[in-house]
Subunit: 120 residues, 2 copies
DNA sequence: TTGCATAGGGATAAATTTATCCCTATTGTA
DNA sequence: TACAATAGGGATAAATTTATCCCTATGCAA
């Protein structure tokens, strides 16, 4: 794993939650797992823009942070399932709120984001 | 400014909010501005781990995304003030919720984060 | 027998974000 | 006169995160 050179600072609640939720796909992974897409291959199909590799890595981090649990079924072809832990479930209202804010302000957000990206 | 090579994908609300809130210091900037630390130098003092440079850059992005407004006073030495826009204020409940979750789970989060960082 | 589905990881390159360092300008103070 | 405070930005290096490519293994279906 990558060895950090600049120490993390974990001063407040915002630092702490950032540490477990930062990661391009983590929030989406939590959300889809909650919606019932529990197997890596299902998640990969739900998030085709992400490579299988990153999803694996981020799932592993979510697991290390105890937000999801992993079950490996001893069968062939292999079967693995992720589930939210109780701890992970406590994030659902937050994720839902984030998504809702984004959806409610979709038009405006698209406008300002595009303007910034394509400004002269 | 940096010219993006991989196109953004802005499919859902989660993508949209991520686009404006990602950035190591953005959430904190919004929070402190709301608490009354409106001048760049004040913000810098509140967030000493960040360099002045990054704060400027992230403030600029927040402004471009219409979450904060900037007022320049024509005086010397220069005085600048940032304020949340009405739009920016709608993020406060979300930020508050994020911080609260982090605070409430502080102990557990520190444990899992440290474990992951220092694992054998 | 070739190919697909399953799941996972190593090695390395590329993209993106932050960090550092330096320079501009003005007024007041030691 | 030298330095601090104010605000801001260019250039470049470093850190960090993602993307790509390749390899392992097994059993089933065409």
């Amino acid at each position: 794993m990558y060895e950090r050179k600049i120490p993390l600072n974990l001063n407040c609640g915002l630092d702490l939650i950032a540490e477990v939720l930062y990661g391009k796909w983590k929030i989406r992974l939590l959300w889809f797992i909650n919606e019932g897409y529990k197997r890596p291959s299902e998640l990969q199909r739900k998030i085709p823009e992400a490579s299988r590799r990153v999803l694996n890595i981020q799932l592993k981090e979510l697991e290390a942070h105890e937000l999801v649990s992993k079950t490996i079924y001893a069968q062939v072809p292999p079967k693995v399932e992720y589930n939210l832990t109780e701890f992970g479930e406590t994030l659902l209202p937050i994720i839902s709120m984030l998504g809702k804010w984004g959806d409610e302000n979709e038009e405006r957000l698209r406008a300002v984001i595009v303007k910034q990206t394509t400004s002269p």
